[in-house]
């Protein structure tokens, strides 16, 4: 097992280098530069921009820039943002807690919806409950988050005036009031993301459980006279969960990556909105750092999912 993990980690190194090269080249090929806004300002002479580009090393060939970026990344220096001239790691750390909280709670919400509904629907296939659950799941994952987000804002903020739709990290309150305000503003983004995710997971859980529940050993368990709840929880769900775990594990990097669209709509200052504003401003060091961290997480969680299999299903072994 230890050797397996080590081998997987070693394989990850060339793929990460490959990913970083692709990312860097694509960014270098994309049009625009971080000082674009200066170009349209008649009061800023063209030399000023040329100077800034030279000072930030933007005029060097892509290969030179890549080697420099790679070198400092190895030393733990992530560079600084061209837009705010602040170190990139500092920017990311500032945004991380919000993203972890909002996206994390939405994933928990999604699991809380998907597991019970999916399992219950699968135990009673084609019943009224199953039909309704299916219909809602379909609607849920057919509607994109930018649509439900705006819909929620229109209904709950503008028509009913119940919830604020601008997310603020600094709430001037303490104690219970702080929690109340925080919960209120997080409700809509968490619900939008959680319902979307929950809807698609419900479908997976249902079909996974459905596959298992018809197997002979389940019939055996039932004929032993075990209670229905014990049959489902102990015998069915544990086996059915294997594909679901993969799905959930692969979704985990997104918790760190943020949700670009939803964060933008609700002005949640997370990693997603940092990424999108960096892309719009052609802020290469920030884009590189965020996307690179994201790819590391994808690789890491892939490995984690594989290891979880072994725990859930002892028949799987590693070589």
């Amino acid at each position: 097992m230890g050797r397996y993990v080590l081998r997987r980690l070693l394989i990850a190194i060339p793929s990460l280098i490959g990913i970083s090269i692709v990312l860097f080249t694509v960014l270098a090929l994309a049009p625009g530069d971080p000082f674009e806004e200066l170009a349209t300002n008649p009061n800023v002479p063209a030399e000023v921009r040329a100077n800034l580009r030279a000072q930030f090393g933007l005029d060097d060939p892509v290969t030179v820039r890549y080697v420099r970026w790679f070198g400092s990344m190895m030393n733990g220096d992530w560079g600084f943002s061209f837009a705010s001239r602040i170190d990139v790691d500092q920017l990311i750390l500032q945004r991380l807690p919000v993203t972890l909280f909002v996206i994390g709670s939405s994933q928990i919400l999604a699991l809380l919806i998907a597991l019970p509904i999916g399992v219950y629907a699968a135990t009673r296939p084609y019943s009224l409950f199953d039909q309704i659950a299916n219909t809602f799941a379909f609607i849920g994952f057919s509607l994109p988050t930018f649509f439900t987000g705006i819909l929620f804002i229109l209904v709950f903020s503008i028509q009913l005036d119940w919830l604020p739709f601008v997310y603020r990290t600094d709430i001037a309150a303490t104690g219970w009031r702080w929690w109340w305000e925080h919960g209120k503003q997080a409700l809509m983004p968490v619900a939008v993301l959680g319902l979307f995710q929950g809807a698609s997971w419900t479908r997976y859980v249902r079909s996974a459980v459905l596959d298992v529940i018809r197997l002979d050993y389940v019939t055996t368990a039932r004929s032993k006279g075990l209670r229905e709840i014990a049959v489902v929880v102990k015998h069915v769900v544990r086996n059915a969960l294997i594909p679901v775990v993969t799905l959930v594990a692969l979704q985990m990097p997104a918790i760190f990556g943020g949700a670009i669209v939803t964060e933008q709509i609700f002005r949640v200052p997370g990693i997603g909105s940092l990424l999108i504003s960096a892309i719009l401003a052609n802020d290469t060091p920030v884009i590189m750092a965020v996307t690179f961290v994201f790819s590391c997480l994808v690789i890491l969680f892939n490995l984690l999912a594989d290891l979880l299999y072994g725990w859930l299903d002892p028949r799987i072994s590693y070589h």
């Binding site: 806004e37 503008i158 604020p164 739709f165 002005r267």
Partner: protein, 596 residues
């Protein structure tokens, strides 16, 4: 009225036969209006009554929190690094310049004790220097006094290329000298009629010497104060998260009595313009939203809720159409649209005139922009003292048809006019942006009726406005016949704005297409007028020169103005927020207050 007539009138005001008010009213009738009149009188030694501020609160603080929304959040808080207006606005909460521009394009003293003028001896007679007297008793947020040393330091800091400042253009050619603890003199290399650039408005915010001194030059990025500003402004720094939130609290030591009104300020960033307008005008969650580029129809609908309104203030930005004077389809010495060529179709004045008649500006205003884009006949629209009355525009398909017919452009079987085998077909490009595509449609339909075929092209904004030398779709390359976009005028003096028709600034391969003259239109008369204006100290003559430049470009149909674009903000109906089209939205933040 010519120059002589004006002078006579000014003389009569001096002798008291005509009042200031009557003079200004007569000027309004002539289209020159108040600001020009005021400036002319000031120049002629007639004092200007200090404008009364509409600020009502009689004590400092007690106003609660001021919550403002910027759909692009400030990313840094050092005004000398401010790439965009969002960064300038964030810095402006804490830092102040010596003077700011009011909505009429007039200077208002902030950290200066008074605005330099010829009467108070601030302006040298030869125009080569300006002396600023600083306000006394001003303190930085950390209690240190604000003095002439700080002002001189800002010049040193910004003009040092190693500091990598964005403001270097305003400081590198001047020399700043300290006369005494509260007086500085700015020396210009030659006579400068426009002396209010350094230390003024967006590029003039003063940072404290004692905190930045150690970080001048190459170490400029390391200054801790870059992120924790210590200024002289009405609010003190509390917290900053780049791209998300700037927070400040009341400065109880502010240098003006009874100000500011609010106890704290929160500037939230991110999101989009429409929902920012909603947060102010529909839910009232916020008091103010910056730059709400939203269709007027939507704004009007939101205004009906009665919580907020759109604040529309005129600036100099203009949406206009450029006609290429060179041939974009032939390559000469490795360059298309080279000035060695002439446009095969647009070289004909009749075609240019016809196109001018086919742009229905009123329809564009009525159906697309509403209050946020006003039909205009001029390229230089504001400040009003520079607006020409000599030009006119009309929309007439019949006249266009007539013109083309007499010029020998005959309709072919496909309905498109042609002459000598050349068909009247143009490629018309602009950036992707809903109002622009609608405008393109309006013009295309009119052109069709006149037998001109327009092929519409829309380029992603990030490509169109980029300066990428390798890309052929950028606006500065102008590799097509006609294009449309908005050009910005960031200060009330048109000198820099009007350089975009100079022969010496033609955009070409040689200057990597960074030249500002994108139409490649050239005129000796224009060049002469521009260079004359550069050193003309008499404001009346200078205004006349700018009007002449405007008229030359318009009459030659180098460009066809469409609408001028005022700035639009969303303001809560309870909030009093004086805004100006010539400065940041926060130019007079100290005077913002809310009805109780």
């Amino acid at each position: 009225m010519d120059e002589k007539g004006l002078r006579q009138l000014i003389g009569e005001v001096k002798r008291g036969r005509v009042t200031r008010r009557q003079f200004i009213q007569r000027m309004v009738g002539l289209g020159l209006t108040a600001p020009l009149a005021a400036q002319m009188l000031a120049y002629s030694g007639i004092a200007q009554a200090q404008a009364k501020s509409a600020y009502k609160p009689t004590k400092r603080g007690g106003g609660g929190a001021l919550k403002v929304l910027w759909w692009q959040g400030a990313t840094l808080l050092n005004p000398h690094f401010a790439v965009g207006t969002k960064d300038q606005e964030g810095s402006r909460i804490f830092y102040e310049p010596l003077a700011a521009w009011d909505p009429d394009g007039e200077l208002v003293p902030i950290l200066a004790a008074e605005i330099p003028s010829t009467q108070n001896g601030g302006l040298a007679a030869d125009g080569k220097s300006v002396t600023w007297k600083l306000k006394k008793g001003v303190r930085w947020h950390d209690g240190k006094p604000f003095t002439a040393d700080d002002v001189v330091f800002n010049w040193e800091y910004a003009s040092d290329p190693a500091s990598a400042t964005v403001t270097i253009g305003s400081y590198k050619d001047v020399r700043v000298e300290k006369l005494d603890s509260h007086t500085v003199r700015v020396h210009f290399p030659k006579a400068a009629p426009f002396w209010a650039d350094a230390f003024v408005s967006t590029r003039g915010m003063i940072i404290p010497k004692h905190l930045f001194e150690a970080y001048k030059g190459a170490k400029s990025r390391e200054a801790p104060t870059n992120l924790k500003p210590v200024g002289t402004g009405p609010y003190k720094f509390v917290d900053f998260r780049p791209g998300d939130m700037v927070r400040g609290q009341i400065n109880n030591d502010y240098h003006e009595a009874n100000r500011p009104y609010f106890d704290s300020i929160e500037m939230k960033g991110g999101g989009d313009a429409v929902s920012a307008a909603r947060a102010v005008m529909q839910t009232g969650e916020f008091d103010y939203a910056w730059n709400v580029q939203v269709e007027d129809e939507i704004l009007l609908r939101m205004e009906k809720e009665g919580k907020g309104h759109a604040d529309i203030v005129a600036g100099g930005n203009i949406e206009f159409i450029q006609l290429n004077t060179t041939d974009p389809w032939t390559e000469v010495e490795g360059e298309r649209a080279s000035i060695k060529t002439r446009h095969p179709l647009l070289a004909d004045a009749a075609v240019r005139d016809a196109l001018n008649l086919l742009v229905d500006r009123q329809a564009v205003q009525d159906h697309i922009y509403g209050r946020t884009g006003v039909a205009t006949r001029n390229f230089l629209n504001n400040p009003q003292r520079f607006r020409s009355k000599n030009t006119k525009w009309e929309f007439s398909v019949d006249k266009a048809n007539q013109l083309l017919e007499t010029a020998g452009w005959k309709r072919g079987s496909d309905g498109i006019r042609a002459k000598d085998g050349k068909k009247l077909k143009f490629v018309f490009q602009t950036s992707i942006n809903a109002p622009r595509q609608k405008t393109q449609q309006i013009i295309k339909q009119a052109c069709q009726k006149a037998g001109i075929d327009l092929e519409l092209k829309a380029v992603t904004a990030s490509v169109f406005f980029s300066s990428d030398v390798a890309n052929t779709d950028t606006y500065t390359k102008f590799y097509c016949d006609i294009q449309m976009y908005t050009t910005t005028m960031t200060q009330p003096d048109p000198q820099v704005f009007m350089d975009q028709y100079l022969t010496s600034l033609v955009s070409s391969k040689e200057n990597k297409w960074q030249g500002r003259n994108i139409t490649r239109w050239r005129s000796e008369d224009y060049d002469k007028a521009w260079y004359a204006a550069e050193n003309e100290l008499d404001p009346v003559k200078r205004a006349a020169l700018f009007m002449r430049m405007n008229d030359l470009a318009i009459e030659a149909r180098a460009v066809i103005p469409v609408v001028f674009r005022p700035r639009v903000g969303a303001v809560s109906n309870k909030l009093h927020a004086p805004t100006s089209g010539w400065d940041n939205d926060f130019w007079l933040l100290k005077d913002w207050y809310r009805d109780a």
